[in-house]
Every structure is written in structure tokens, then in C-alpha cells.
Subunit: 144 residues, 4 copies
Amino acid sequence: MNAPTGSSRVTVRVRFCETDLMGIVHHASYLAYFELARVEWLRRRGVTYAEWAAQGLHLPVVEATLRYRAPARFDDLLTVEVTLDELRSASLRFGYRVLRRDEVLVEGMTRLACVDAHTRVRRMDEAMTTALTAPETPGYEGAL
Amino acid sequence: MNAPTGSSRVTVRVRFCETDLMGIVHHASYLAYFELARVEWLRRRGVTYAEWAAQGLHLPVVEATLRYRAPARFDDLLTVEVTLDELRSASLRFGYRVLRRDEVLVEGMTRLACVDAHTRVRRMDEAMTTALTAPETPGYEGAL
Amino acid sequence: MNAPTGSSRVTVRVRFCETDLMGIVHHASYLAYFELARVEWLRRRGVTYAEWAAQGLHLPVVEATLRYRAPARFDDLLTVEVTLDELRSASLRFGYRVLRRDEVLVEGMTRLACVDAHTRVRRMDEAMTTALTAPETPGYEGAL
Amino acid sequence: MNAPTGSSRVTVRVRFCETDLMGIVHHASYLAYFELARVEWLRRRGVTYAEWAAQGLHLPVVEATLRYRAPARFDDLLTVEVTLDELRSASLRFGYRVLRRDEVLVEGMTRLACVDAHTRVRRMDEAMTTALTAPETPGYEGAL
């Protein structure tokens, strides 16, 4: 239904509690990193996802894939590069790369559905689509 | 208005993701153990907390203390002993001991308030109080 | 390099802390369910994964996919059906279905590498391969 | 054995996955906030806790208390004020206040022991004590 738009790069510091007994970041933690990066991606395009959620509009994850190339460790300063790869009338797909400096540690994607408070699929309206295809606000000082 | 009631003992297996890079169970995981033990404590007295929550009645934690005596490790089979220590008109206090066989690893307590869906304090009605002061259903085969 | 083997079915009760503000189980929680089911799958074939880990042998997740069909909710009693789908010399792939009674809520897979304590790939020895291709121990009363 | 020192204020954005079905931040999430604030407190005094951990020096939590005054919500920008309240030869106690603007949401403390890689108590050496009693590095731009 539509074309991809830009990317955003979000910084996240690995927390102690996100590691496991292997001494590395637990593989499930990256879904949290993807999620916070997605929320920041929206914020930098003028969308406060918390407001959408408060209005009963949700974007639940309906599909996720992750490929783990190299482990991240406690206290690493990671960059999550997030890109809207596909925008349909009632779903979106984001792609992710988690980097430590220039090294790609994890790649992945999530597909999200657009649903109302009763988990019924709903089409995105024009205001939403406009926000989702907007470029990142210039000069954004994106600290988490 | 008062008087404690019995205890329940709930078994929980430590998950890999609950460990941290020290190779032990992360200290925040015990709040999850306390919570699931509390839910089981209620179930064994005829209360499905999920139903209370669905009806907009919640028991949020308003105070918690934890004392860590010895670390638990991945795959340990733990026993959480949970006791209702105090029952007031709009709050309860549970005490906990987490054991590995006979060794006490963690002790703690949580105080819970009784609130409605709008986080307003509400008094517990008689049905609730009756359930909370009931003994554990005999013959309960308490698998999680 | 080798043929798949059997499946196991592991029961897990949804914890309160695994839900999110949508009122459903957070999508990252399923990676924890997959993980605990995998550990039980191994246990029912005579393998205590904690012992492998203590000896410096790890099976980190190198790839994961999840498809979310329907949401699970707090206190649901779920079944995780886990199957070894592929066994290679230094990697394995498990498939998963998370069910609530007969309804499939989530499907997924994880690919695991076999590594030593320094995250170097190592081939599985014959004892490991034998364990991984063994059937589930009969009469296992698989409570978590 | 010794005197308290200064405080630091660390900013943290509430993640979606940290909420629960009550629509508020799950009570266990605050232990993660305390922890990351503590790590930043150390960093601003020249200590990279990850390096201590890599050298086998750990500061496990041996006691924690939390008092919940008001709920935080998804996407709230919180301030964690962390203060070293007590410094002994082999333990420390930090106090915390979690604020949303001027409102105190949660207060708490954690006591940490100083242990080696084998969980044996060890006394802190002079370099450690010096770092722990140093003031916050001026001009620190404390993004997480």
C-alpha cells in the first residue's frame, strides 16, 4: 500500500539485569531494545505512542525475527537503528540493527498490527499515515 | 478487622533468563516469585486473582522489603513459603521465605493496597475477607 | 547431519509481571517460555542444562522467529509444545507452539549454537548427540 | 566506618515492557531503575562497574526496601535520585527517590555487599573507597 520512510538511531545502555549467566545480554532483551527504539522513532516524527495507547489504539507485535551475530555485554553503549520497511493500511513492519560502534550485533524485524482497545484490526487514518511517513524531526537530541 | 491466617508453599523452578552475569538469580526476580506465590496462595483459598483484576479490583504492592541470605542459581527448584501476616480493611501484608530444600535464601514482605480500577482505595467486602481468612483447600496439588 | 526427534509438552502459568498495559502477555515473554520449555525438553531426555552450563558448555540462541496468533492473558495455563527440528554438528533448531487448550497462540523457532565458555563454536560429542536424539523419559510428570 | 557522600540524578524513560495489566509500571521494575542509577552514580565518580565485575569484584544486593507512593506510567520521563548513605569496610547502602518532575513516586534503599568472584566477602581497598567518596565529576552530561 505504501512506501518505506527513513530511519532513526537510538542509543541504549545495557543494564546489569539484562545479562544472563553466560555473561552476555539475554537474547530476549533485544525485543525490549527494538520496542524502545520504535517508540523513539515515533516520537521523532511527532507521535507519542503513549497517547495512542491511552486512546485505545495499539500496535501489537504480530511477528518478530532476530538474528544474533555477536553478544552485547553489560554497560555496552548500543545503537539501535530502526527503519520503517513497510506501511500497509492496518500493519507496519520495522527493521532493526543493533550496533556497538560499527559492529552489527543483532538484526531483526517486527511486524505490528493496528488494533483498537478490543484487539480488533482497524485501518490507520490519514493523520497516522502522515506521521509514519514523516522524516525525523531535524535537530532531535534523542537521549532516552 | 484482623488476625493472620495460614501459609502456603509454592514451588518455582529458576529460569535461565532470571540469572545475571554473576551467575546467580538477579535480585529483582524474587519480587516475581513473591507475586506468583501470592497468586497461588489466593487460588488455594478459592480466589482467582485474574477475575478480581478483570473486575477492576487490584492489589498493588505499596511496600516491599527483601533480605538476601544466599544466592539461588539457574534451574534450582525453590519453595516460596507465603503467609498472610496482616489483614486490614483496605490493605494486606504477606511475608515470604524462599527456600532451597531447608536453606532460607531470601526473606521478605509486601504490603498491598486494595484499590479499584481508578487506583482509589476501597475497603474489602465480606466475601473477600472470608476468602482471605480461609484455610488452604485440602489436597491441593499446587503445581504452577 | 541428523534426524529430528520427539516433542515434549511443558505447562506454564502466565505471571502477572509478564503482562503489559494492553492487558496481554508481553511479546518478549514468549522467548522465556520457549527457553524454559527447551530446558525441560532436555531434562526429560536425561540432560540437566545447568550442568552443561556449569561445565562451560552453552547453547546460545543465534536466531529466533515468533508469530503471534492470539494473545495470552494473566493466569492462563499455557502448554508449550517443543520439538527438536534439526540437529547439526554444532547447532540445533527447536520449533515451538504455545497453546491454550486447543488454540495455538504463538508459533516460533530458535536456532542454537553449541559453544564453549569463550563463545567458540564446538562440535557436540557423541554423548550429547545421544541425549538429544533420545525419546522423552516415559512417565515423566513434568511439573515446572 | 565512614561518611556519606553526594547524590546523583539519573534520567530514565519508562519502557512499554515495564508496565503491567494495571497500566502502570510493574513494581519490580524499580529495582532495575535503582540498579542503573547506581551504575551511573559510580560512572560519574570515575568507576566503571563493568570493569569491577570483569575483575571478579561484585556488589550484590543483600537488602532492599521500596515504598510506592504513586504509579509511574509508560513513557514517563523519571528522575532517579541516588545517594550513598553509608559506606562500611565491606558494604554500602544507597538511598533512592524516583521522581516525575517534583512528585516522589517511589522511595527505597539497597544495601550491597562487596564480594569476590566466589561470593566471599572482601574489604574494599583504598582506591575503591576513594572513588566512592569522590564528588560527581563536574559537567557530567549524564545521558543513559
